[in-house]
């Protein structure tokens, strides 16, 4: 369970754009065509590796419905990364991006990394938002952009990992004060020195608490 860093993510966006399916694909590597409406917030976790360092991702998948907004806002501030998702086959979900972004800017910490995701790219025949539009929006607002499909798993790994890589780079650049956990980043045992030593450190640590 040892990790170099722990990042907290949130997934936001309109209801029905496939947030929960993205999470399920990422954590369990499976797709569930019929998914219950998310109530409030659901949790998922997975370990990834960046720059040979184990990084734990804690992901909170939020309900897209308006009635849950006040609850889901509680999660913005403590998150290091956000996946802002829209559905490429439903134009209105793209149109609402601005309001989601405004919400995020208002409630999240300024350094939160936001990844814009156009989901359901497997449904190319029903596309209502072009890739270029997505790119354009991301560029205008300083977001990372990617189109992916929770159904085919295309780009799903990449989306989560690329976000993590961006956060990791920010840490390396000294943007964050990593000792302050309110940024959604936590330093694990010894991970910074590299993998092998990290494991040693963690074992000695656990040995200490047993004795």
């Amino acid at each position: 369970m040892s990790y170099a860093y722990l990042f907290k993510y949130i997934i936001i966006g309109d209801t029905g754009v496939g947030k929960s399916c993205l999470l399920l694909q990422f954590t369990d590597k499976r797709f569930q065509p019929v998914h219950d409406l998310t109530i409030g917030v659901e949790f998922g976790a997975r370990m990834i590796t960046i720059d040979n360092k184990p990084i734990k991702l804690q992901i909170w998948d939020t309900a897209g419905q308006e009635s849950f907004r006040s609850i889901t806002r509680s999660y913005y501030r403590g998150a290091a990364g956000a996946l802002l998702v829209y559905d490429i086959t439903r134009r209105e979900t793209f149109n609402h991006l601005a309001s989601w972004l405004e919400d995020a800017r208002q409630h999240a910490n300024a350094n939160m990394t936001i990844m814009l995701i156009g989901n359901k790219c497997d449904l190319a025949h029903r596309r209502a938002v072009s890739t270029e539009e997505g790119e354009q929006f991301a560029k205008e607002h300083g977001l990372i952009f990617m189109e992916c499909s929770a159904k085919t798993a295309q780009n799903v790994e990449e989306a989560f990992i690329k976000t993590a890589a961006t956060i990791y780079k920010k840490i390396q650049d000294g943007v964050f004060d990593v000792s302050n956990e309110s940024y959604g980043i936590k330093v694990g045992y010894g991970g910074i020195q590299g993998n092998a030593t990290g494991r040693d450190a963690s074992t000695s640590q656990s040995g200490a608490c047993c004795g």
């Binding site: 369970m1 722990l6 907290k8 409030g40 917030v41 659901e42 949790f43 998922g44 976790a45 734990k56 804690q58 909170w60 006040s70 609850i71 806002r73 509680s74 999660y75 501030r77 403590g78 409630h107 956990e181 309110s182 608490c209």
Partner: protein, 920 residues
């Protein structure tokens, strides 16, 4: 403000006419006015201090404060942040206004002012948001009091405050930050969060998002783990609140921190025989945590179930079993509550989880030379413990171990071999080297000598788990033969026969000792019957073994109609009999299906036989199964958990506390839903089988038309003989059928005659019973009324006597009055006559007269003197006038001549008068 006016209405209603209140009102009002409008800072502070103390002590002041004070203090909190002292004072006053006063007077007043104040304060989200913002202040007391205000509000209006805090951005974050504050604040915050997270899934998740798990475990570690104090207990309460029924949070804990921190709390450090009460509570709370992680809820959602299965896997991987075995089995010093909870956790961990079952089976306890299988140790607990609760929980382990685990059952059953004769009566302490099966057999039989069958019943329960749904094990157990004991001299007897014997013995013991021969008897018979029922299910060999001894059947039939047996026992006996029919493959006459059915219908009658099923099904053990099946609700508050511990430790009181149906409470837990379902399905099958038996009698003589034909080469005589024997056989069969028919008819007839009370059976009887009870109650009431009536009559006569006495007294009084009046009038008359009769009668009247005369004399004398004086003066006047007249040449004598004659009065006076007239 708007709400103030609304509030005043309430105040008016509650305290309308209380004069003291209005004093307090005006006092509080004056203080508030000083705070609000005062100009000198010192004076305002003083007023605030005064207000705080009066609100803290006085009930009506508290009420008055709520009506008028809140806006004032809120504005202090809002606009005077710089004045730390004022803010502190305002918060402290708020705390006081929300603290219930334990006053004797309180009982009379319906509305508690502290509650009303809390209601008022929590009504506005802005107020809560204001309070939360105060948590960012530097001053320690400001944060401390703020937390207290919030906790008070939470205890009064939980859901409203939960909603408000959820709606306030970063509200929960602020509260979570308090966990990292200095100790006093941190402890307050723990309590507050425990309230806040109660039954509020979204808050639980946010709290966890804010790192609650890390913080809680850090605090517990700092406080010394399970050896720590009440703070650890608070931490565990909070931990349990955020894990309870919250799959998302359970996943998060499992995926990030892991269960190690929980498991390590169960680890006993150092001297493991000292268990303070606090440590007991901490351990029980931790075991509750484990329980929350592994207990699938009543409504087993698929997602939730996989989650709890994963939790079980991970927990066992993290070596939780070792710690649980240490707490529940090995540690003799652990309080029985802890042991029971640990055993129950073990049971839950292995339930429907084959891997964990295997893990438990392979566990070995003890130090190297004296190692023993954990299962053996748990069996020993069952056989030896004095606590029924502990027995139930250990039994739960075996139940879950054997369920859907034929290999495990076989493993246990394979060791079912009796000990050599020398060991048969060895005390239990010598069982360390025994195999599981031997120990079990030992337990089954050892109590025979000392006449206490409780251990036997417990062992029977374990054996029933081992045999359940496992044909192989049943066969194995049937073959077990016990050596001859002192009582049953002669050949070895099968285990099953011994069990039936104990069943009979337990009844004879009960009837011998009277009713209360001990707490155990109440479940011994049921346990043994349960074992036999499970044993015979789907197992013709077992049925045959059971019927091998003719008295068994007779005994069961007697038990069926034994009125001293409980409803449950009779019902179970009926089920067992039914099994003898249902799974009967015997061909021997008397032991075959027809023999049994005939015996039942002759001895008991089919109607009353089936009635036993109905009665049992109506019993609470079967009907209210769903309610009792669940584990009892988990405690939250400290007080409740304390009470809980006391409850469980007090086994004796529990066993004495029988319910209305006079069933043993243990039965509730031992008759699990599986067994109840089994009995239900058996009953249906048995009914069906009976109908079958009667509608399709199996012919002993096969009628093959070809056989009736004369065979070729057969002589007439042979043919006739053959036919004759055939007819004889048929004749006897017809006889059989006739007799069965007769018994059925008889049963029918009996039913018919009793139909009025019996056809619809027990329900009517129940009604009759209630009627009877009502009649009894009514007659009692009548009796009471009669008594009352007699008493009233008594009273009446007494009062009558009293009245007549009074009357006579009154009469004599009035007589007396009359006579008095007469006397009075007489006196009156006398007085009148006396008055009219004059003074004569008075003797001193002369004296008075004398007196008056004297007085008059004196008066006249004085007058005379005066006259004399006057006369003298007149005389001298006359003389002087005479002299003057003489001078003037008048003849005085001549002048005076007429005077004397005119007046007729003597002398000198007349002269004077004349002279005066002359002068004029």
């Amino acid at each position: 403000m708007d709400f103030v006016s609304g509030y005043k209405g309430v105040v008016g209603r509650v305290f309308g006419n209380d004069n003291a209140t209005s004093n307090e009102d005006s006092y509080v009002e004056r203080l508030l006015d000083r705070i609000n409008n005062g100009t000198k800072a010192e004076d305002r502070r003083m007023a605030l201090v005064e207000l705080q103390s009066v609100v803290a002590e006085n009930h009506s002041a508290q009420l008055a404060f709520g009506a008028m004070g809140l806006p004032v203090l809120l504005s202090v909190l809002k606009d005077e942040r710089d004045d730390v002292e004022m803010v502190r004072g305002a918060l402290e006053t708020l705390v006081s206004s929300l603290t219930p006063l334990n006053h004797a007077k309180m009982a009379k007043i319906e509305v508690e002012p502290s509650k009303m104040n809390a209601d008022l304060l929590s009504r506005e989200v802005d107020n809560i948001s204001l309070l939360l913002s105060l948590l960012a202040e530097d001053d320690f007391y400001v944060r401390y009091y703020t937390l207290q205000v919030l906790t008070a509000l939470l205890t009064n209006s939980l859901s409203r405050l939960q909603e408000s805090i959820l709606a306030i951005p970063r509200g929960i974050t602020r509260l979570m930050d308090m966990l990292m504050d200095r100790e006093v604040i941190r402890n307050e915050a723990l309590l507050l969060l425990t309230y806040l997270t109660r039954e509020a899934e979204e808050i639980q998740k946010i709290v966890v998002f804010e790192g609650a798990f890390e913080k809680i475990f850090t605090i517990m570690k700092e406080e010394g783990g399970s050896d720590g104090g009440v703070v650890v207990q608070d931490c565990l309460q909070l931990l349990n609140n955020i894990l309870r029924n919250n799959t998302s949070n359970q996943t998060l804990l499992r995926e990030t921190l892991g269960f190690d921190p929980v498991v390590s709390l169960l680890k006993l450090r150092g001297v493991s025989y000292s268990f303070t009460q606090q440590k007991t509570i901490n351990l029980v709370s931790t075991l509750e945590t484990v329980n929350l992680l592994i207990a699938s809820g009543p409504q087993a959602e698929s997602g939730k179930d996989t989650n709890c299965m994963t939790n079980k896997t991970v927990l066992v991987q993290r070596k939780v079993l070792d710690h649980l075995l240490m707490l529940g089995v090995e540690s003799q010093w652990a309080p029985v509550t802890v042991r029971c909870a640990a055993l129950h956790c073990i049971g839950d961990l292995i339930a429907r989880h084959p891997k964990n079952v295997d893990e438990l089976a392979s566990k070995v306890l003890g130090e190297e030379p004296q190692v023993e299988l954990a299962l053996n140790s748990i069996l020993r607990i069952i056989l030896r413990t004095s606590s029924l609760q502990e027995f139930v929980n250990a039994d739960y382990v075996f139940k879950n171990f054997c369920e859907n685990n034929p290999d495990g059952q076989r493993l246990l059953a394979s060791t079912l071999t009796p000990q050599p004769q020398s060991m048969a009566h060895a005390p239990l302490e010598d069982d360390v080297n025994m195999s599981f099966g031997s120990m079990l057999l030992h337990g089954l039989t050892m109590s025979e000598s000392d006449g206490d069958l409780e251990i036997c019943a417990r062992a029977a329960s374990v054996l029933s788990h081992m045999l359940k749904d496992n044909a192989q094990c049943k066969e194995k157990a049937i073959k077990v033969e016990l050596g001859a004991t002192m009582q049953s001299m002669g050949t070895p007897e099968p285990l099953m026969h011994r069990m039936v014997k104990y069943l009979a013995v337990s009844f004879s013991m009960e009837s011998k000792d009277g009713k209360s021969s001990g707490k155990a008897d109440l479940y011994i018979q049921e346990m043994i019957l349960k074992l036999l029922i499970i044993w015979l299910v789907d197992c013709p060999t077992a049925v045959e073994c059971f019927l091998d001894a003719r008295p068994h059947l007779t005994y069961l039939l007697e038990l069926l109609s034994n009125q001293s047996a409980t409803v449950c026992t009779r019902g179970l006996a009926a089920v067992l009999l039914g099994e003898c029919v249902l799974y009967n493959k015997c061909i021997e006459s008397g032991k075959d299906v027809y023999g049994i059915v005939d015996a039942i219908s002759q001895k008991s009658g089919l109607t009353s036989y089936f009635l036993k099923f109905d009665e049992m099904q109506r019993n609470f053990l079967f009907s209210s199964k769903k309610l009792s099946g669940q584990h009892k609700p988990l405690t939250r508050s400290n007080g409740a958990s304390m009470a809980d511990i006391e409850d469980e430790e007090d086994d004796v009181s529990m066993s004495e506390n029988r319910n209305d149906n006079e069933e043993h409470p243990i039965l509730v837990s031992l008759f699990d839903s599986g067994f109840v379902a089994l009995v239900g399905s058996l009953e249906a099958n048995i009914r069906e089988r009976f109908v079958d038996v009667y509608s399709n009698p199996k012919a002993k003589v096969a009628v093959v038309p070809a056989e009736l034909e004369r065979r070729s080469g057969e002589t007439d005589g042979d043919y006739i003989k053959r036919l004759k024997s055939f007819v004889e056989k048929q004749c006897s069969e017809i006889q059989d059928l006739l007799s069965r028919n007769a018994s059925l008819a008889e049963d029918m007839a009996k039913t018919g005659t009793r139909s009025e009370q019996k056809t619809s059976g027990p329900s009517e009887r129940v009604q009759v019973e209630t009627y009877r009870r009502e009649v009894r109650a009514a007659s009692q009431r009548l009796e009471m009324l009669k008594n009352e009536n007699a008493k009233l009559e008594n009273d009446v006569s007494m009062y009558q006597n009293l009245a007549s006495k009074m009357e006579s007294e009154l009469k004599s009084l009035s007589d007396a009055y009359c006579s008095l009046e007469q006397a009075n009038s007489q006196l009156d008359k006398e007085a009148k006559s006396l008055r009219s009769g004059g003074v004569t009668s008075y003797p001193d009247i002369e004296a008075i007269k004398e007196e008056v005369r004297e007085e008059a004399q004196k008066e006249s004398e004085a007058e005379l003197n005066d006259l004399l004086v006057c006369l003298g003066q007149e005389q001298s006047k006359v003389e002087r006038l005479t002299a003057r007249l003489l001078e003037l040449g008048e003849d005085v004598d001549k002048l005076l001549e007429g005077v004397g004659d005119d007046t007729g009065l003597p002398g000198d006076d007349d002269d004077d008068d004349d002279e005066d007239e002359e002068e004029d």
